[in-house]
Symmetry: C2
Subunit: 198 residues, 2 copies
DNA sequence: ACCTAAGTGGATATGAAGTATCCGCTTATG
DNA sequence: CATAAGCGGATACTTCATATCCACTTAGGT
């Protein structure tokens, strides 16, 4: 490790944590377009203090989300161990989207396919890879339509995301309903219920 | 009609049309966030000329889209005449989303539930109303799940919209595929294919 | 042809927002 | 207690969109 991290003064380290915590909250609530000034104020720190530790918003966002995203990647990989691949995929998507549901910043990070750091790109790639395996296996198991591919995952996630962004009518979380609807549509049996009724 | 429209000079009227046409194109391609300067330049007119006819971007957008949206409303109303309500709804949604697919500005206008002019609000309301009738009738005809309501329409449209915004991989238009998938899920027969296989 | 009100262009004033720096003051720590 | 590290937050910079202004051009009536 050639990286030198000169060890922060105790108060400085404390403020670093405050900054991260505040960023977490602010990004979750208002999205990545929140300003570092917002974050600093929320942490009850001066702007300068924040800029001293994180050169810019991107760096801060990465510090906040790299771990979270890698957790998701790990969950996806763990899902590979499941017997029923379709169910494993379903459970994984529900878990991942659950995270997204409560964190607008995460949602925006996932959505923008472009310009993410190496660390985040790697997580993204790992997730896609695991989903690919699950899809292939579900198809072998005969539980998923053969015309589904990995490329369907991103659109599906995008679709559910978009429901989350909607000014929801009830206090409910209708995204689960739609996720179920869509995933149901991916099942073999539902592909086309059959010929016209008459 | 107490409205006085003092009749424009011929060249002025011509430029007004150019402005509308340019706005149409620019909004369709780059969305409503395009500036009036963009529009003016695209029409090969000075900015001042555009501002002379349209006090601001909102007014221009309304002039461009009021008609388009009302056409969609009319289509929805016409769909009420169809025998098969489910099929009529499906056809209407496909038609309306076809419009949206080629016009980013229209998409943004549809998405933002807030702050639209009276004219546009009326169209929106009419569309929702017709969809409501179609849903109710399809349920009477036994072709649609009973737990679907009008409130499901907006999320479904939002979901398909989000697919359109995606940096599409192939040159294809994958939104039709997902619309079909979702609508299939609304059918009675697909509600739940049945008990577990074993 | 000529007059004048209507129209035109586009440089530019205005304003809003976000980013990032600077530097006088404070505080941890050996 | 010396001093390097850290802090705060006013503010300089940018960027970008909106909207205006006014010297100049032109349609169209007489």
């Amino acid at each position: 490790m050639s990286e030198k991290t000169p060890a922060l003064r105790r108060d400085a380290e404390h403020n670093r944590q405050r900054t991260l915590a505040a960023a977490q909250e602010v990004f979750a609530a208002r999205g990545l377009q929140a300003t570092l000034n917002d974050v600093a104020h929320h942490a009850r720190l001066g702007v300068g203090t924040v800029y001293r530790r994180f050169p810019n918003k991107e760096a801060l966002a990465e510090a906040v989300y790299a771990g979270k995203l890698d957790d998701i990647r790990a969950t996806a990989q763990a899902a590979l161990a499941g017997r029923d691949a379709y169910e494993a995929l379903r459970a994984f998507l529900e878990h991942a989207l659950e995270q997204a549901a409560t964190d607008r910043g995460l949602r925006e990070l996932i959505r923008q396919g472009t310009g993410d750091s190496e660390q985040i790109a790697r997580a993204r790639q790992g997730i896609v890879e695991s989903c690919g395996h699950l899809i292939a296996r579900a198809q072998e198991q005969g539980t998923m339509r053969d015309d589904i591919t990995v490329d369907d995952i991103a659109p599906i996630v995008a679709m559910i995301d978009s429901v989350m962004d909607l000014p929801s009518t009830g206090a409910a979380r209708p995204w689960r309903r739609y996720l179920a609807l869509i995933l149901d549509g991916l099942r073999t049996s539902a592909a086309h219920p059959g010929p016209r009724s008459s």
